[in-house]
Amino acid sequence: MTENQAHSIAVPVEEIEKLPELKENPFKRRICEVFSHDGSGNLTFEDFLDMMSVFSEAAPRDIKAWYAFRIYDLDDDMYIGRGDLLEATRLLTRDELHAQEREEIVASVLDEADVDGDGRLSFMDFEHVVVRAPDFLSTFHIRV
């Protein structure tokens, strides 16, 4: 591999999603998009390294929180809005919740986390919550 190939040859997103580590993850497409250099989901070698270093156990909490924010921010507007949360709960439970229940959950999440009352979570809100959520750090990693 010459020097430039590390960041010019990309593996298509469909192949990446087949990895056993990602295969079952409901957010796999979004994860690929976040880590790919051009937002398409295709990963170069360096993008892949970035992904693995973020998901490694040794990665600092702040980095994990930042990328988790990016992942949950499904529409990429730098805020986790209502739509993002609805979509996330849908992905998590595989369409099994009623729309009304999902609305309830999203309302409760916003109620808990939205400090400044603008009806969406900024990174500050998200970080504030996530570092206090006891399960976040233990679950947000991939063992290789």
Partner: protein
């Protein structure tokens, strides 16, 4: 920045470019005043105003300017991602501040690792930092820096190596992949216990077993002493010829030849070993075996306590954070709910289900809370009555199982006792009296001696042997069976009680713990009664086969058997009962069989299994110093048994176990086990008369009296200090000082709590303020922009008119 050409460009411009870039940076970080702010405001549309707030500046400074200038060079699809990436450039170390020296540059390079930017950018940052002009370190500072570098590198390497050597890394990963982090925390706990036992066995081996095997004891002969002296008694005890018996049975019972090995308390010597070192120092060395024998248990008890408290305190801290986290219950569900480690389709399905269930439960709980307020007085009373009834049933079951153990123990002792005495009437051996100690295996022993004489007796005796062994194990089989059956009953009962799911886990765990430990307590009290009746006698005069000659060894044997039984039961249930069940469940289509065969990995039960064994080990390690070593082996093997249970027999549990919650729970249960196990040992050390015939403390009133006697031989000065510590002159002021500290910390905690509440309020208020100000500002900007437009239009019109005028 990710393209090859921009990199080349950067390279060619590197030398003249950087200082410029640094300057630009500075301006962006510290915007040059109101003029610029105003410009920014004009350029920004009202909706994006929030990004200009100081609180956002840390990440967003460069969005506006830099993002634009670069976007022009890029395709439009890139725009979004690059924008978000450029944000992070703002977090770069400020280059323009001062010329930094090598060490600082190095530190900054190390800090790059903690930045959430892609690798390419990290590399660029590093290159930039490396190429920046910097001061060279000289002399001592240089050496210091080099040292730090080497130390850092060493630490990283060492961490990597340790990580690779970590025990059971890949099984853990496998389990995590199928069962999630909650179950892995159980296996981590198992590993923790393994290491704890390893350390304890290291202590025991170094200070008890090695000295015992290496150092040579001086032989005393009975004829030099009185007939009643400990020397004579123990000589008699040790010389009992333990000839042939069934080796396998001896191994599993710890009797026969096993009894006289270093496995048990009995053989440890009561002498202070002395030996001469030839060579450099012509001196005499001492090793005080009795003192070592009492100090080693004390030290491992302290060690275990410290280890538990340390691990528990960590859990406690997490729990404190979590109690705050209760406020973020739903966020925890949504953002921390998915286990990124899960790799199997099946477990992913179950995880989805579990999350769904949990969300349901949360919503349900809300509803229950609302209902509770609406609940009528009558239904409430009914519920409490039901709970009371079930608690009574539980209590009855607990007492009944205790009684069952009591009966079983008495039955086995009676049967064994009568069996042997009947036979002793028939045959009188000449070696019989000496071997009375083998009370429990007496008939077998005698049979073996006479095996050559009576061939027919053999078959008979085989069954007798079997019967005896069964009888001997009866109490333990009883205990283990109870432990298997009763928790299932409890599980059924609790469904009538309408507890919240979190309560259910705790209540079942508590009841099962009570069952296990109470059965253990009954057993201990039985043994205690047996000892006090039959315990103390000199072997020389002992004619009664039921009398114990070395009761400490007897206790050790009982606990040793208990551990072995437990392991056997674990093994049997896993491979002979649960495996076929799982097999049936997997390969049969009938619903009924499936119900029978399917089993989920219920964490509380498995946690109790290993905590129970640890309790026995703590209890028995004083009487049987080998027990921690056996425990280490036990845990090592049980890991694979449990892994098998987990991966092959079980399906993932529909209940979600949270890693964060379980650890502190494990530790508190373990602590309970520790207290319960140390109690009897401490009592026996402080109060009971040690055996005359064996062990390091023969001839003393209690073990503690030996310690006091040894203490009296210490230097006067040291003794005075210790006595002073015990008097009120020291104790009262110390108590007062402690109280002061306690009060101080309590006040501090209260103040902090108050502060947290105030800050939280303030945070919310600031949020509202911000919202308000932003609204006002955006309104103002819109107004301003309109005015500008109007002015522009006006000036444009002016220009137009002037042009028209001039053209005329």
């Amino acid at each position: 920045m990710s393209g090859g050409n921009s990199k080349n460009k950067g390279r060619s411009k590197r030398h003249e470019g950087w200082e410029e870039a640094g300057g630009e940076f500075y301006q962006e970080l510290y915007p040059g005043g109101e003029q610029e702010l105003f410009e920014n405001l004009q350029r920004a549309d009202a909706a994006k105003l929030a990004t200009l707030l100081p609180s956002k500046q840390a990440r967003n400074t460069t969005t506006v300017k830099r993002g634009r200038s670069q976007n022009e060079r890029r395709q439009s699809t890139y725009a979004r991602t690059t924008q978000s990436r450029d944000i992070h450039l703002a977090m770069m170390p400020d280059l323009s501040e001062n010329l930094s020296n090598e060490e600082r540059t190095w530190e900054e390079i190390m800090q790059i690792k903690a930045m959430p930017v892609p690798m390419l950018q990290k590399r660029e940052l590093k290159a930039r930092l490396q190429n920046a002009t910097k001061l060279r370190l000289q002399g001592f500072e240089n050496i210091h820096w080099q040292q730090r570098k080497v130390w850092h590198r060493f630490r990283v390497r060492f961490g990597e190596i340790i990580g690779k050597l970590e025990l059971w890394q890949s099984p853990m990963r496998e389990i995590e992949g199928t069962f999630g982090t909650g179950v892995v925390s159980y296996f981590l706990f198992l590993r923790w216990l393994l290491f704890l036992n390893l350390v304890i066995s290291l202590f025991v081996t170094l200070f008890l077993i090695l000295p015992k095997t290496i150092l040579v004891e001086t032989q005393h002969t009975c004829s030099d002493y009185e007939a009643n002296s400990t020397v004579c008694c123990s000589q008699y005890y040790f010389e009992k010829n333990v000839t042939d018996s069934n080796i396998v049975l001896d191994v599993i019972q710890g009797t026969g030849w096993m009894e006289m090995t270093i496995l048990f308390y009995g053989v440890y010597s009561n002498e202070i070993y002395t030996y001469f070192l030839n060579g450099f120092w012509e001196t005499q060395m001492y090793y005080n075996m009795p003192l070592a024998y009492i100090l080693v248990p004390i030290s491992w008890a302290v060690l275990s306590l410290v280890a538990i408290v340390k691990a528990g305190a960590k859990g406690f801290k997490e729990k404190l954070v979590e109690s705050e986290g209760q406020l973020y219950k739903y966020c925890n569900l949504v953002f921390g709910g998915w286990d990124f480690c899960i790799q199997h389709e099946k477990s992913a399905n179950i995880k989805h289900k579990a999350l769904f269930n949990e969300i349901k439960v949360c919503l349900e709980e809300e509803r229950i809370k609302e209902e509770k307020q609406l609940r009528t007085r009558e239904s409430e009373i009914l519920l409490y009555l039901r709970r009371l009834l079930i608690n009574l049933i539980v209590l009855v079951i607990l007492i009944a199982s205790g009684f069952l153990i009591y009966v079983a123990f008495n039955y086995s002792v009676d049967r064994l006792g009568t069996g042997s005495s009947e036979q002793s009437d028939v045959k009188v051996d000449n070696t019989y009296v000496n071997r009375t100690f083998e009370r429990l295996t007496i008939s077998r022993l005698r049979f073996n001696q006479n095996a050559g004489v009576l061939g027919l007796y053999r078959e008979n005796s085989f069954f007798e042997q079997l019967e005896n062994t069964l009888l001997e194990f009866l109490p333990f089989i009883c205990i283990v069976m109870l432990n298997l059956i009763v928790p299932e009953v409890f599980n059924q009962l609790i469904s009538f009680e309408n507890y919240t799911p979190a309560r259910v886990v705790i209540v079942t765990l508590l009841r099962t713990v009570l069952l296990r430990l109470s059965s253990l307590a009954v057993l201990m009290s039985q043994i205690y009664m047996y000892i006090t009746v039959n315990g103390i006698i000199c072997s020389l005069e002992n004619k009664d086969p039921n009398r114990l000659e070395c009761w400490e060894t007897y206790v050790g044997q009982q606990l040793y058997k208990l551990v072995l039984t437990d392991f056997a039961i674990q093994f049997v249930t896993t491979f002979l009962i649960n495996l076929p069940r799982a097999f049936i469940a997997r390969h049969s289509s009938s619903k009924c069989l499936k119900m029978l065969g399917e089993q989920d990995f219920s964490l509380p039960k498995h946690v109790l299994d290993i905590i129970y064994v640890q309790t026995i080990i703590w209890m028995g390690a004083y009487f049987c110093p080998f027990l921690p070593i056996i425990g280490t082996i036990y845990y090592f093997l049980i890991f694979y048994v449990k892994k098998f249970t987990c991966l092959v027999n079980c399906t993932p549990s529909p209940v979600v176990y949270k890693a964060s919650k379980s650890k502190s729970l494990f530790m508190s249960v373990l602590f309970l086990g520790f207290v319960i196990s140390i109690g009897p040992v401490a009592y026996s050390v402080a109060e009971l008369l040690p055996s005359l015939n064996c062990g390091p403390f023969r001839g003393y009133d209690t073990v503690w009296s030996y310690v006091i006697e040894t203490f009296d031989r210490f230097p006067f000065f040291f003794r005075e200090i210790v006595f002073l510590l015990g008097t009120s002159v020291f104790a009262v002021p110390a108590f007062v000082v402690l109280l002061f500290f306690l009060y101080y910390y309590w006040a501090l905690a209260a103040a902090n709590r108050h502060m947290v509440a105030v800050l939280k309020n303030q945070l919310v208020l600031e949020g509202h303020d911000k919202q308000f100000l932003l609204n006002r500002l955006s309104a103002f900007i819109r107004q301003h922009q309109k005015r500008c437009e109007r002015r522009n239009r006006a000036s444009f019109a002016d220009d137009d008119s002037s042009i028209r005028q001039s053209s005329r």
